[in-house]
Amino acid sequence: MASQEKISVYNLADLKNTSDDAIPNYLNSLGFRQSHRLTDVRLGLGFSALALAAAAFAWDYKFGFDATKHLTAVAVAIYTLLNGALALWISHVERGTVYVGTSPGGEDVRISTSVDKNVPVYHVTVEITSKGGKKETLKIDRPFAEWFDEAGRFVAAPFQALFARGVPVIGKADPKRARAEEEGEKDTAAAAATAYTPEMLDVLAKATVASGVGSTSDAEATGATGVAKKGGKRRKA
């Protein structure tokens, strides 16, 4: 369960990528059916552009510039269109989407994530379309320190609990994690973060945002609540 690979906790891209990768793993393990349509369209656009450029290179190399310049002009135009379409697709259709799928109950779930530069907080947007077509959007903003320990290992339990608690559709599919919060956690250090009350986490999150530094700090990683409290206060001051 705990992770295979260590990352640098000061590298925001690493934090985000590792977390992004964990979402499909988790949801698919709960019986969600993932849809790859967005990725496939992006790969299709990208690789056709790549193939076109490779062809242009080949005929230019083989027949020279003057013999092929009209063909090259057409290829350049099409390449520009394909690349423009790809850019639009990524910025307007994908919009940071890391997961699209259908829950065991039949609801469509779409999860997109983002981070702000130099702020170690994970912004998650969950769009749920129920079978009746009703749309619902949930937002979760949490510091990465809740599910990365100080060595940079990804800890699955608090991360999954975050989704199970925050998103009812996921909670229904994973009742154990959804309940973990209320009953108080006995899951050792791995789930230490979930031992905090939501208020405390908010204070911690604000403190982390305010200081604006990629501080994972010992506070969240160690189990003892007293230490955590002190750590939080000190940082706030």
């Binding site: 990208g46 790549l50 090259t72 690349n83």
Partner: protein, 172 residues
Amino acid sequence: MLSSLQNPRQAAAQLLNFGLILSTAFMMWKGLSVVTDSPSPIVVVLSGSMEPAFQRGDLLLLWNRNLFEETNVGEVVVYNVKGKEIPIVHRIVRKFGTGPDAKLLTKGDNNAADDTELYARGQDYLTRKDIVGSVVAYMPFVGYVTIMLSEHPWLKTVMLGIMGLVVVLQRE
């Protein structure tokens, strides 16, 4: 990084990102070629024969279309000579006739004699089709990197080594 290779879509996406950097650079070059109608629209000055106009290492932007008027005396052009690899940047000093068959003579501003010595054996003049383009803009000194790289091949090894090191250290 390595774990992402287990997922074929993610591996394909990473390959795509890398490929698109290369292909976009190539297509931008080709786009410039098509617009300027020149097989090599940007060249680097290799000799001092056009001083004081151009120094070694200057980057030149060429234009190879005659939209309004023909290529005329006084223009600085880049031309190729049959059997010689390296294009030459010199000024047109004489022109006989008009149209695509006009006979052109070139000379380097800093050279004592005209270019008949430089042409192929038995060739006394250039025609329009020998010309790769006329110089329309230049950027001083920027091209010196390529001169350094071609004259000191070991620099290429050093540069590749540094780039490889950066890639390994950054992992992204």
